[in-house]
């Protein structure tokens, strides 16, 4: 290598270093989220590209595992170190808890400019704001009280969709007679909780749900209605296959897709599995509200909470929040994710039948006041209480607690976790 080549190389390296420095100096958002793979990540990529067009680079910080629990650990480490990410995917009460620590940025100005107050459902706003100030940009709204039915199995069982829990039991009996698994369920606490909250809503109605779940009223948690809830849970348990324990939700969905099982209670994200298996709503599968919960929506929304990272990235942060609420992005993202837009002003033309139904249900429930937070997904109670309730629910479902014991234990657990 001669001198000239070395000089050239050195110049190249220097140039490279300068560009690297330049990239760093540009606006950047660091985003902690747990949409780490497959379609979800691809959906998020849309946001990344949108931001890049505006000159904001995206530093990805994906942390999967346990519905965000590993991500929460990582977040704690970063906040404790005094170096929080710019934006963090957070759920319900976690948002409040973090805001309470005084680490949130203020999005009021942007929200006012873009009129978020008018387009985002008030039930959700409660969680996107802290102390009256916007701290987070909601991405989507999932709802959890769905029942997914295999169309062929349903047709074989008479074709009539159940509208209350007793009809559900009748249908499940027919599935059983067909020789398939009546209800596909995965035995992990959050799935047990998802099923339980749907049963609570179905058995007790929206007011009871508010009382028992949102307010955690001890009387409601141990009363007769709750007894029926637990009894129904025990009964539903008899429709599971023996291998449900610890099974991931998508394996349960696969059972329904393949016709090995008749139905699954699951949030709208499971639609992705159906679409991926090239199944069409209405033709191959049927999406209905969990029997007895028509007119109410238990929601769970993904939000990006903006952390206070100082002036340096504040502008990029605002750009990102704005990009999240951009209707085009909301459509693109939610089509892939199976959820519905967090804004109620978005036309449903681009969405499939299940999503259209979801959007319609959402705006109805929102206006009727029956849009309520999901317990299993952190929109009904703070983490401590939620986990304490899930403990009881999952132990009861697994036969470790009798119904009577569960009724006694549930208010105790809530009290102990407060």
């Amino acid at each position: 290598m001669n001198i000239r080549a070395i000089t050239k190389l050195a110049a190249g390296v220097a140039l490279l270093a300068m560009t690297a420095g330049a990239v760093k100096a540009a606006e950047e958002v660091e985003v902690l989220h747990w949409w780490t793979s497959g379609g979800e990540a691809a959906a998020l990529n849309v946001l990344k590209e949108n931001l890049q067009k505006e000159g904001v680079s995206w530093k990805d910080m994906p942390v999967a595992g346990g519905a965000g629990s590993a991500a929460m650990t990582a977040l704690r480490a970063r906040v404790t170190a005094g170096d929080p990410p710019t934006a963090v995917q957070l759920l319900g009460f976690d948002l409040r808890d973090w805001s309470q620590m005084g680490v949130a940025a203020n999005l009021d100005e942007l929200a006012a400019k873009e009129g978020w107050d008018k387009v985002i459902p008030p039930a959700l706003q409660e969680f996107s704001k802290y102390d009256g100030h916007w701290v987070a940009a909601p991405v989507n709204i999932h709802s959890t009280n769905w029942l997914w039915l295999n169309k062929a199995a349903l047709d074989k069982a008479g074709g009539k969709v159940p509208t209350n829990i007793d009809e559900l039991f009748a249908l499940l009996d027919k599935f059983k007679a067909e020789g398939i698994v009546p209800l596909a369920h995965g035995g992990v606490p959050w799935q047990d909780g998802t099923l339980w909250e749907a049963v609570v809503l179905s058995v007790g109605g929206p007011d009871f749900y508010k009382k028992a779940v949102l307010e955690a009223d001890p009387a409601a948690l141990s009363g007769d209605t709750m007894k029926k809830v637990f009894d129904d849970m025990s009964k539903l348990r008899t429709y599971f296959d023996p291998n449900f324990s610890g099974r991931e939700w998508n394996l349960s969905t696969a059972l329904v897709i393949e016709g090995k099982a008749g139905a699954q209670e699951m949030g709208d994200w499971s639609k992705g599995e159906w679409l991926r298996a090239k199944k069409e709503p209405g033709k191959d599968f049927v999406c209905i509200r969990f029997p007895g919960t028509q007119g109410s929506v238990l929601f769970n929304a993904d939000q990006f909470m903006m952390f206070d990272v100082g002036k340096k990235s504040a502008d990029a942060q605002m750009k990102m929040a704005s990009a999240v609420e951009n209707p085009a992005f909301q459509i693109a993202f939610n089509k892939v994710k199976g959820s519905v837009p967090a804004r109620t002003d978005i036309p449903d033309t681009d969405f499939d039948d299940c999503a259209k139904k979801g959007m319609k249900d959402l705006s109805e429930a929102s206006s009727k006041g029956t849009l309520m937070g999901s317990l299993a997904h952190g929109y009904a109670q703070p983490a401590a209480i939620k986990e304490a309730m899930l403990d009881v629910i999952t132990q009861h479902l697994n036969g470790q607690l009798t119904t009577d014991a569960a009724l006694k234990r549930l208010p105790e657990a809530v009290a102990a976790a407060k």
Binding site: G66, S69, M72, T73, R76, V79, T80, D94, D97, W98, Q100, M101, G187, V188, P189, D241, P242, N243, F244, S245, G246, R247, P382, A383, A384, E387, A388, D391, T394, Q395, L397, N398, G399, Q400, R409, A416, A417
Partner: protein, 308 residues
């Protein structure tokens, strides 16, 4: 380092010394000091910090507001905590006993001048090399009655074969034991194999001349000679049992119900998922006390023995 009197045994140290000599005689301690300081801060400092936190009202992040013994009362009123402790007892005893027994058994087999030792050794050792992030799924499938062993056996025509421990709250903790033993027993095997290889062959010859059978040679002579290996194995296994976390999370996630909760998963979940950092810290303090109760007597006897 203030607790250590500067008085090395080897290097000469009396007055009338140049600075260079002084430096030289202090060098060993100077070399050890950073490591020791780091341990003091990162282990003992953090333990103190954890103890402090357990007396605060910390929930999502540390706050330094006095909370008294509240966290401990909460801890001991949690049914989960009792389940975790009970499970640790079951898991710890079985895990240590089975790893030791199986490790010793394989080591003895491997020590019979077998041909394919080079092939077999890595087969028994490899589970230690893999993280449970990697093997957890495979194990979960294998133990799942509808996917794994039970399914296969029934497909093969053994219709009544049942192996549903994974989904049975009463038995699930034993599946954790199985996977744990699978992971660690090869390592213990290597320790025992090393111990066996280190035994003086003449002792065995002497025993053979005395007319002892192979079984009684092992039972009466070789296994007693392996006593130090048993101790090392116990310590290695005890600390792995107490720290076991990945194992449970990957295999059962603590379920079914809370049937496989362990103190380590309890601590993690209260600190990081349930936003009850003080209760998590209190459980960590309890764990540390348990560890101390096991380790300190061991260390004491071990280090005192060496003195003689």
């Amino acid at each position: 380092m203030t607790t250590i009197e500067p008085m090395p045994v080897i290097a000469a140290e009396r007055p009338r010394k140049s600075f260079a000599d002084r430096l030289r005689s202090g060098l060993p301690k100077l070399v050890l000091a950073p490591s020791f300081a780091v341990i003091l801060i990162f282990v003992y400092g953090f333990i103190l910090w954890t103890i402090t936190l357990s007396f605060t009202t910390s929930r999502i992040l540390p706050v330094y507001k006095w909370g008294g013994f509240d966290a401990y009362f909460r801890l001991w009123s949690q049914p989960n905590w009792y389940v975790a402790m009970q499970n640790l007892a079951i898991f710890g005893v079985l895990y240590i006993a089975l790893c030791t027994a199986i490790g010793l058994f394989i080591a003895i087999l491997m020590d019979q001048r077998i041909r394919a030792e080079g092939v077999l050794r890595p087969i028994f050792l490899y589970p230690m090399a893999l993280s449970f992030v990697v093997t957890g799924t495979a194990w979960k499938w294998f133990l799942n009655p509808g996917l794994g062993l039970e399914h296969t056996m029934r497909n093969l025509g053994w219709e009544s074969f049942t192996f549903d421990w994974l989904v049975n709250p009463k038995m699930a903790i034993y599946t954790v034991v199985i996977a744990g033993v699978w992971q660690a027993s090869g390592f213990i095997m290597a320790m025992f194999l090393a111990g066996l290889r280190g035994i003086d062959g003449e002792i065995i010859k002497a025993a053979q001349i005395d007319g002892a059978s192979t079984v009684s040679i092992y039972r009466r002579i070789i296994i007693p000679l392996l006593r130090p290996v048993f101790l090392s194995a116990f310590i290695v296994l005890a600390h792995m049992a107490i720290k076991s976390y990945d194992l449970v999370i990957a295999l059962t996630g603590g379920g079914p119900g809370n049937a496989t909760e362990l103190p380590s998963t309890f601590m993690y979940s209260y600190t990081f998922n349930r936003n009850q950092m003080n209760v998590g810290s209190a459980s960590a303090v309890m764990m540390l006390m348990g560890i101390t109760a096991i380790i300190v007597p061991y260390l004491y006897s071990e280090l005192r023995e060496k003195k003689q």
